[in-house]
Amino acid sequence: MIKTELEYGEAQRAEWEKRIAQGEWIARFLEPVRELHRTERIANVQQQRSAGDRMSATQLAEIGPYLAEISDIDIRREFFQGRPLDQTLQGIVVPLVEDVLERDPEVRSVLNIGAYYAFIDHHLAQRHPGVRFTAMDLIPDMEGFNAEFRLPNLAFRTAYPLAQIEGGAVAPDLAMFSATAGEIRNAELRRYLRALAATCRYVVLSEPIYPLATGAIVDPGSVPLAASVPAFANADYMPHTVGPIAFVHNYRAMLAESGYRVLHYRAYRPAFTYLRWVEVIAERAA
């Protein structure tokens, strides 16, 4: 016996389709505005909960579990296995770091701030065995999370990088941010750069420029030094809690403020994505 008695007819279906079409049309105008407001609200709340120019104890306590919650090691592993490195957003930083290593053989140590899944660090450490690499992040058990990447010249550290740099626990010749600085608030990022300027000769940045909810692209060079633009918040349909906000910063102005001279600056769209990107290599001014 096969019976379908759903009590729902074609006329009801047509009426429903009309309503949805009208709703989608109105939503084209409403949704970006709503999303823009949402992003700004989340940014405001995060600023209020921070300790000025560093993360508060509460935020530090929260971010470890958040990073553990979004750990998707299988997906990342398959992602890197499935395409050439130069076709990944993470891979963009590789030639930038290698450019510095080639230019200045005195660079013996590299710190990756916010390394998370250390595929890139492993790749660089393999190619430069004479350089000491440290992959640092707030995820609990960085060592275990990256167990597949163990190398003699690659260390994994679970720590708040700003505290480590200011406390003198790490003093790299080169510090890199790869899809990390964009998630750090304005005042905190500038504090990072001031702290690095005391000992670190080079800073390399490889960061996304997320579009605003309206689709607008913000030129990092047009952003005021002290007022970065909150551009993107994790969508509320993601399975995990809302993570950090992504900002567009004026990296050039921030680096100059801390006494760095920009050697390379490029804001562009990589060929394999619609996401815009910014690359920076900066050297501490004499």
Binding site: E7, Q22, A27, E31
Partner: protein, 292 residues
Amino acid sequence: MSAQKRLEFPPWRKWWWRARIAIGRRINERVLPARELQLARDRDRVLHARSPGDSLTRYEMDKLASYMLDVQDRDIRREYFRTTPLERTFQGLVVPLVEQVVAADPSVAALANIGGNYAYIDSFLAARHPRVRFTCVDFSRNFAEYNAELARPNLDLRSGYAMQMLEAGELRADVFLFSSAAYEIKNAEVRRYFREFARAGARYVILNEPIYPMPGGAIVDPQSVPVDASVPVKSLAGFGAHRHGPLARVHNYRAMLEEAGFEMLHYHAFRPAFTDLRMVNVIAKRSGAPPA
């Protein structure tokens, strides 16, 4: 004594507020269903990207185990079944289906329910059919303890991922059952379950699944859905500590079962008299020899 009222909210502002709310409601009648539909589709896309295969990832298993703990509401369920006649409950709709199979085929000796949660129905059926061995599986780590009051000598309460049990040969039954469970499972995984059921000795599959309406009220006929492209219809809200509830889908159960080598004995997509929610009831029998 003086009574003063200086709320600085004159009637015209109240009128203006009412007008804005009324206009907003009219707009929302159009926009909200469109937004909720988009949410369901976005969630489906994200879940698919994070779980591309035909089984759950380790991450999803962990999430489900904690989610099932989070939504445990035994007192509410106990009270619900105590005060509502069984035939007027969604779960109760499965009882006549199981009894029809057990009555028609006395060789049925084992039944497994995937996604049992509160195992009231399993316990009820186990009491009525003492010669049949019932197994009820769900993700919560305290599954047996949670259902301790429903224990029966012929009811086995197992915690874990049923797919892994099937693959390991640890779960076999003559009848496999989904009751308000398959609609939360992604397309490729449901189809794999049906294949695994056949390999695990299933002669019958019974389904008792809701057909959630789409935002705005549209009803999807399961038979109109492509076998490999189920329709995400509703993102159930997560009002507890969890962020979202399940994503409800409409599958073409008939096509999926036929694909796995089962034939329909009974198929009824309908609106039960006690609710506006549509349901689909299925009894399918394996056609031919079991797969190797």
